[in-house]
Amino acid sequence: MFFLDHIYLIPLLPAFGAAIMFFFGRKLQKKTVNAVCVGAVGLAFVFVCGAVWQYLGWADANHHQPFEKIVYTWLGTDTGQSNYLTKDGTPTSFGADAGFLLDPLSSIWLLFVTGVGTLIHIYSTGYMAHEGGYYRFFGYLNLFMFSMLTLILANNYVLMFVGWEGVGLCSYLLIGFYFHRKSASDAANKAFITNRIGDAGFILGMFFIAWIFGSLRYVDVNHLAHSGKFAIGDPFITAATLLLFVGACGKSAQLPLYVWLPDAMEGPTPVSALIHAATMVTAGVYMVARSNALFVLAPSSMKVVAIVGALTAIFAASIGLVQNDIKRVLAYSTVSQLGYMFLALGVGAFAAGVFHVFTHAFFKALLFLGAGSVIHAMSGEQDMRNMGGLSSKIRITFGTMFVATLAITGIPPFAGFVSKDGILWETWAHEGTAFHLLWGIGYATALMTAFYMFRLIYLTFFGRKRMSHEVEHHLHESPKSMTVPLIILAVCSIFAGFLGWPHSLGGSDRFARFLDPVFSGEAQVLVEGGKSAQLAAGEKEEEHTSSTEYLLMFLSVAAAGLGWFMAKRSYEHADKDYAEPIAVAAPPLYKTLLHKYYVDEGYDYVFTGRRKLGDVRLGVMGLGEASSWFDSHILDGLVNAAGWVTRLLSSISSWWDKWVIDGIGVNGPAILARVLSYPARLVEWGLVQWYALVMTAGLVGFLFYYVYH
């Protein structure tokens, strides 16, 4: 039980690698960086294999329960004191453990994340060999692996959120790896900010869960959700699941928050492969699958998930039809495939969705790494209009990418055929005719997928060489460190499908059975809720309508073949002035698609406010302008008004002081004294002789008075 007991080492190994890179990386040789970082992830892969192997043995003896390992109490206390009331008034204490949970769902994610991650690390040693910031790149990659593994292994939503934010941070750092390029740092900001919107939903969803269930531990939440205490369609659970789905939309690039993912292609190609195709963007799918017990209780949320997934699938695929940047085509393809996964989750086919995540990880990583190899060969050129005829020059890249294309378009028996067909079949089989419409959308998306993928193949590897002579001269196959991962991933893309080979084709769908312990509760609840259990019904129906299933299978293979044929006819002999068939048939449509339905522009108008709508600026910048206006006119106006009033009062006061106090109080008596002094002055001549005369007169007067008295 060594691996299970020390399961916490799985995320910690890459964390050590990242720490070494951040503290000492600058001084390390490239060889040491390779040894530490690739070694850490490779070792994590070995640990994962060991842990899953031991878990399989352990689970057989323990009724296929999830294995939980709690290392310590991370948030809250274990004193048992309650600190909040749940919705039904029970006192509960908030808490989260640093705990790890291993069950079939996390096993699958662990396996492909560390497996594909190791391959991409190896590939990066070749791809990034001539780039600056080598240790930084690998430090970020290892930090990403740590965050992703924390996200997967967490035994509660809070710890999952830590990993969730960690991968968001690493995604930001790696998209902006070429930070001296403005477009790259803009794209990094865009990804980070768009993800914040989703994360806000996730946090609110967590609050709802803590409020409703009194715990954030998956085991507790699932147990309560299965207990039958909650009615199907409970509005609070619906709200919680919808908010969680908002988080998933941000991380997994669904409508309307998908806009960051195509721009994320500014990062180095291995990053696009690892984070923006195979692993991180599937975190939303993981979270929804992890919360399946809640989503089953909220059928309207499930419908929202299915509809958003289907719309995203066809929306992104239609944009992908006309893009010219090789990585952007793949980015829209990723968004589209993620839409498929959510469609599957939304119709309750959790296993099918997870299976598509699993197969998609291989072929999409392979496509990105192949694209990276092409870009490497083309000396950095990414525009497919300047490529062509590369198949003979870079044979291994061409061969592996071709395999991946067959896989993604759903040509049997490659991996994508099995998983995508499973989703389409489950959608069709879901009761309610509206789901036939969703199937129709998924089917149209499959056709588009085939078209844009083979367009990519033909424009890149066939037709005339359209690059400059200098570039043509430098064409070369990539080093072994890059081609070997391509080959391994190609092998996986061919054979991964057999793990979930459906019953109707003589397989046993081992993948879905492996996941049964995680998703089986769903069927129970549906039965208890009095609704016809979708899974059970699906199984019954399967036997009755296997002819329908064969028909659908044939139709989707036909769609893949049709897309291939159309792309071949249009682009096989593409020369410098080749024509886009959509541009010829419907120029306005082509223009709309080329500009991605003007969504970014629309967001600029409505949400960011970088563009003005007439004279009005909306969105964040509009809010900023309005705030600025409010500040400078209203608040400053109030300030100025206060100042004006003060000045007015002070001038009144000054006038009062000057005229009333000084005038009447001080100068008044003085003036009075002066006025009154005038009569007294009249006798003050200043002439001595007059005084003498008066004196004499007085003397004479007295004399007369006394003499004649």
Binding site: R681, W685, G686, L687, Q689, L693
Partner: protein, 116 residues
Amino acid sequence: MDSLLHITTLHYLVLGAALFLLGVIGVLTRRNVVVVLMSIELILNAVNLNLVALSRYWQGMPLRMGGGPLALHGQVFSIFVITDAAAEAAVGLGILIAFFRNKETVNVDEVNLLKW
């Protein structure tokens, strides 16, 4: 006639009154400060004359009424007045000189600064 030629105290008093009147008129009417001062001397001397005349008259009175040969108060008083007149003339002339240095005049009607 005899009585006319016989000079009595009354004659002195009439002379003193006349001198006093002349002095007063001089003080009141003359513009020159020097003349004013001289008129003041005239007044003082009129007083002296009265003092001396009445003192002499007093010597002729009986002893029991305070008279007699030793009733010389008036005589002594007149010597004080003379002394005082000399001192006063000295001070007055001193002021006059200081005044002349400032105003270049000795006319008393041009000196009217000492008022409100």
